[in-house]
Amino acid sequence: MNAMTENKGSTLVAKPDQVVIPPTVAMKGEDVSVFYGAKQALFGVNLEIERNRVTSLIGPSGCGKSTFLRSLNRMNDTIDICRVTGRITLDGEDIYDKNLDVVELRARVGMVFQKPNPFPKSIFENVAYGPKIHGMVSTKAETEEIVVSSLRKAGLFEEVKDRLNEPGTGLSGGQQQRLCIARAIATKPEVLLMDEPCSALDPIATAIIEELIDELRENFTIVIVTHSMQQAARVSQKTAFFHLGKLIEEGVTEDIFTNPVNKQTQDYIMGRIG
């Protein structure tokens, strides 16, 4: 696992055996508002995403947590009527800057979706997709190396090593989701966004993914949207609670779950709203 630790543009890499260094900020949202046409979905959110930590975004359906997540790699751009205001930075660089290449941004901020969405290609081709389009590999051997190491990191390699040429769509749901994680980390992103990655999976597959998230934290900064508060408590170090498009409360996960400051947060965690 320690073999791959090349976070581009970062000066600080946490290794498991090192003394814990105070977290640095990977991404930062300042006064982020998102509009879908005339409807405002997000109201002035300020949130810092800390490097090599898992930040979970929780809140009832329609609270804007997925919207915020999708604005972190500008996936909202694919929706015509969507407009983002405020400032979001990655390593201090405004990602909504006109001169920024969105294609490059998405290579640096990877994403895993709610429903596993492997391409209708072989397992190998699925993982090789990103490195190939970004010109990260030039020879077959390099491609193979990156595919194998990505699959290893996603904890899938042992299960699929004999059938790399079979279609990725033939895997089970949990395996498909790990394939999508392997695909996302193959481009060596700094940040990995996960939009309810376990909501379509059974409890066993979910447990495997959660374990995986914990391991991936060593090399990636992770932001996860989840409906399950237990999951947020299990996997994340930082939690942000959204309600009705507003960021209500954020902080260390333990504090949020044991000692929430805000009444709404408390209500949600106790299961009274949502």
Binding site: T78, D80, R106, M111, N117, F119, G130, I133
Partner: protein, 459 residues
């Protein structure tokens, strides 16, 4: 008379509906909610029982009446007229009698014929009155039967349901039977043709000169029925059409699904639909009057010998015609690729073009292939444009600037003018039709199989 009878059946059915419904109302009034069916169902049940059997009876009667009377009439005629007569002669005799009976007299009829005509008129009168009596009696009987079954717990609703599904089955059977009938007539006439011209000569012969004499006084060639030049012509024109339509159609679909803004899409889509709605005969005008001269002019400029009705003009216009076909099916296929695929690829940092060529098109390819094959079968079967813009002479060549003819054109020309169904010229049309049918059927089956298989992929 028959028209009034249909009206009577309708009136009776409506009356029966009200009778049944009032009975139903009565049940509801006395039994309340424990009545099984709503009053309307009681009404519909009686109406169906009164109307449908009577209608079926009437239709059967009308079908049988003619031939029954004909046979009876023939048996009354003197033996001198019918004894040695063939079936065709008997038919002639009968139609003469019918003509006389209807007052259409061309020559002075013999006394036997006049007498027979009178008999015919008398019998027809009797038959039609008898028909009225039988149908009305059947309706009254059915009304009595159906009404006697009505009761508070009677399941009129289920009865009406059974009738409704019966109607639906009958409708779908009608379509199937028609198809079977068409195929049967094609096959029957083709067999007749292959009795006159051997199959191998038809399928592999290189000369197509079907204009042979069908009457002794006509001047014509000896005839040759080798269909290869016709098939080749069809393939040439269909190929040109596909070469025009496939790239344009697919790129249009890609543009519309991935690149066009909603505003542009809302403009282009209806225009494509207009293209699909243009009558083929108008495309024919366009090919003959606009495209063909333009191509000829361009060919002359470049020093190429171009026929006035070149394959490229007909094929090109046909290609324009099937663009909407391909573009709308390709559009569907690309749209059917789940949004998550597109998002997945974009989230990997792929550009839209990369997403399209590496993920969406491969995923949509089977659907697009299906669309192309359907369009191809359409191109092969298309008639009007080629009748107007392609040639008539079957020459064996694949030069797109030359004139070629197609299967459909030949079918049309073979069946225009004097026809006689014991002559290979006419029958050849059916053999060509059969080949055309088999080819387009095959293409459609393959295309639909591909499309279906592909649909299952994401379900």
């Amino acid at each position: 008379m028959v028209g009034y009878l249909f009206l009577t059946i309708l009136v009776f059915s409506i009356a029966a509906f009200f009778v049944g419904r009032s009975a139903g109302n009565r049940f509801v009034a006395t039994n309340g909610v424990s009545t099984h069916s709503l009053p309307g169902y009681h009404g519909a049940f009686v109406a169906v029982w009164v109307g449908v059997p009577a209608l079926v009876l009437l239709l059967l009667w009308l079908m049988a009446q003619g031939s029954v009377i004909d046979n009876m009439l023939l048996s009354t005629l003197p033996a001198t007229l019918t004894e040695a007569a063939s079936a065709a002669d008997k038919n002639l005799l009968l139609s003469e009698i019918k003509n006389v009976a209807a007052g259409r007299i061309f020559a002075e009829p013999t006394p036997e014929i006049t007498a027979a005509a009178e008999t015919l008129l008398r019998w027809q009168q009797i038959a039609s009155w008898l028909m009225v009596v039988v149908v009305v009696a059947a309706m009254l009987l059915a009304m009595f039967f159906a009404y006697s079954r009505l009761a508070p717990r009677f399941r009129a609703r289920n009865g009406v349901e059974a009738f409704t599904s019966g109607i639906m089955i009958a409708c779908s059977i009608a379509a199937i039977l028609t198809t079977i009938g068409i195929i049967a007539s094609l096959i029957y006439e083709s067999i007749e043709f292959f009795k006159l011209v051997p199959v191998h000569e038809f399928l592999f012969g290189l000369r197509w000169e079907p204009q042979i004499a069908i009457r002794a006084d006509q001047v014509a060639g000896n005839g040759a029925f080798g269909a290869v030049p016709v098939f080749v012509g069809t393939i040439v024109i269909a190929t040109i059409a596909m070469l025009v339509a496939t790239p344009i159609g697919i790129f249009t679909a890609i543009y519309l699904t991935e690149y066009a803004s909603d505003r542009v899409r809302n403009i282009i889509k209806p225009i494509m639909e207009i293209l699909a709605g243009v009558p083929t005969v108008v495309y024919g005008f366009f090919a003959v009057l606009t495209v063909a001269p333009a191509i000829r002019g361009a060919g002359n400029l470049m020093g190429l010998a171009t026929s006035p009705n070149s394959a490229i003009a007909a094929g090109g216009v046909m290609g324009i015609m099937i663009i909407p076909f391909i573009s709308s099916l390709a559009d569907d296929a690309i749209r059917a690729v789940p949004r998550s695929m597109r998002d997945g690829s974009l989230a990997m940092g792929a550009t839209r073009a990369e997403t399209m060529t590496k993920v969406l098109l491969p995923a949509a390819l089977p659907g697009i292939m299906g669309g192309i094959l359907l369009a191809l079968s359409r191109a092969i079967g298309e008639t009007m444009i080629v009748v107007m813009a392609a040639g008539l002479i079957a020459t064996l060549n694949i030069n797109p600037l030359d004139s070629v003819t197609t299967v459909t054109v030949q079918i049309v020309t073979l069946l225009i003018g004097d026809t006689s169904f014991d002559n290979p010229k006419t029958l050849a049309a059916f053999a060509l039709g059969l080949v055309l049918f088999l080819v387009t059927l095959g293409l459609n089956v393959v295309a639909l199989t591909i499309v279906r298989k592909y649909r299952e992929q994401y379900d």
